[in-house]
Symmetry: C2
Subunit: 136 residues, 2 copies
């Protein structure tokens, strides 16, 4: 778990005023690396923060995304999920349980000549080991 | 360019009633493999279809997406682009000119044991050859 002071510093570095509710959002993201949607974050925080609104959650994740502190994922073509894990990894989206699993990034060949690559995103869709075991 | 009859059949196969305006949207997508946004499609069609609405364009691409006839891409974290090219390819998103280039898919190592992969998505972000040449 990251220290609250680290999260405050991260918000300040991103030019985001570290209000009580914004800190709650970023803490939820740091403590729950489950690729949550805005709704997941809102629902998770509501018991402790009854005055939290979906708009506050949405605005906070958008500010963090614009500051490149998290990544927005649209793996299922439906919902946007937010990923606070900034170390290199790929994603596996299970079409049965809708869960997203972080996987290592394999060695990839270079892009064709002339393309200057700054970032690579790799994601898989399919069936995760748990669901595959339940099917057999 | 695909024949209009092929596009009508494709819509029918997807369970989508091939109205005049829906056919115009799908024809635009087939003729313009530029990963257009809803706005690009709407603007492109407006001179010939002055009664076309953004909502019709949006609803048509969503129906096609749900029928797996095209793919929604969110490469820049901002706009959703639609890709009618269903052959295997990866994407290169240029952060300078915002254009998306189709690239071949390199050989990728298998996913870890237990994960049953149905689809792989690979995208790059960086600077395309044209923009790189303009910079130097």
């Amino acid at each position: 778990m990251k220290q609250l002071s680290d999260l405050k510093t991260m918000l300040a570095d991103a030019g985001i005023k570290p209000s009580h509710q914004r800190l709650a959002v970023v803490r939820f993201l740091a403590d729950n690396l489950i690729h949550p949607t805005v709704d997941d974050i809102y629902t998770g925080l509501l018991p402790e923060y009854p005055t939290m609104s979906r708009t506050t959650v949405y605005n906070t994740v958008r500010l963090l995304e614009k500051a490149h502190k998290l990544e927005a994922l649209t793996l299922d073509g439906e919902s946007t999920r937010y990923d606070f894990n900034t170390s290199p990894h790929s994603h596996f989206f299970c079409t049965l349980c809708n869960r997203v699993t972080d996987l290592p990034v394999p060695d990839l060949p270079d892009a064709p000549d002339g393309f200057k690559v700054k970032a690579v995103h790799l994601s898989y869709k399919g069936i995760c080991p748990e669901c595959a075991a339940n099917q057999s």
